[in-house]
């Protein structure tokens, strides 16, 4: 058993453990639950890209994909959080910290 077989097993385990997060996306009660689960799946996809690179013996190429994917995932999650923050502020009163200006 080589390390590549072990890496294939790690990838399959990661995919199987993404299923609970996927169920949380499907029946999350709030939108933020879904965003958290999407964030978890995105981070694990970056790990999975490194695993794919190890399996195909091309880590030098796939590590760049993983870095770009982690960056995009962070940007998307921050954008969603800011958007919902603004939506909550528009819906109700302004929070006490920002009333002074």
């Amino acid at each position: 058993m080589t390390f590549e077989h072990f890496a294939i097993g790690v990838g399959i385990t990661l995919l199987l453990l993404m299923i609970p997060a996927m169920l949380r996306i499907v029946n999350g009660p709030t939108a933020l639950d879904r965003i958290v689960a999407v964030n978890v799946i995105g981070t694990k996809t970056a790990v999975l890209l490194v695993v794919i690179g190890v399996v195909f013996k091309q880590v030098g190429m796939f590590v760049d994909f993983a870095l770009a994917y982690a960056l995009l995932n962070f940007t998307g999650s921050i954008a969603a959080a800011r958007y919902l923050h603004r939506a909550a502020q528009r819906g109700g009163d302004a929070p006490s910290g920002e009333e002074a200006d």
Binding site: T13, P20, L23, T43, K44, V59, A66, L67, A94, P95
Partner: protein
């Protein structure tokens, strides 16, 4: 050989932490505890798994003047580790803040008070429109 065993141990412990994150994301009762499980377990498991693979890549370096692309790959993997270490708690904090402002209430045991309500001065979710 010792590097391979060490990297396998790191990767397997990372998978154990990701199992904890998945179970917590599935079974915890409210939004904040689910976010707690997802944020912590996800960050630590990602760090451990990618560090394990970086340690395994380090095995291929024999002569540094000839094997420097492998060292570059290891440095890129460590860059991913540092990046996830910085950004994953940041996005978790931003999402928890958005959830609090959005009016998601934590599940609190009956008979206990929500002291967070006193500390944070949130606008109540059912406040009338101005």
């Amino acid at each position: 050989m010792i590097l391979t065993i060490l990297s396998i141990v790191l990767i397997l412990s990372g998978l154990v932490f990701f199992l904890g994150a998945a179970v917590g994301l599935m079974r915890f009762p409210d939004f904040y505890s689910r976010m707690h499980a997802a944020g912590k377990g996800d960050t630590l498991s990602t760090l451990l798994v990618i560090s394990g693979f970086a340690l395994y890549q380090l095995r291929d370096i024999h002569d540094l003047s000839h094997d420097w692309p492998v060292l570059l790959v290891v440095l890129k993997l460590l860059a991913i580790v540092v990046f996830i270490y910085l950004t994953s708690p940041t996005s978790t904090s931003a999402l928890a803040d958005a959830g609090w402002e959005d009016g998601i209430d934590p599940v609190i045991e009956p008979g206990r008070e929500n002291h967070l309500e006193d500390d944070c001065h949130r606008t109540p979710p059912s406040s009338p429109q101005p």
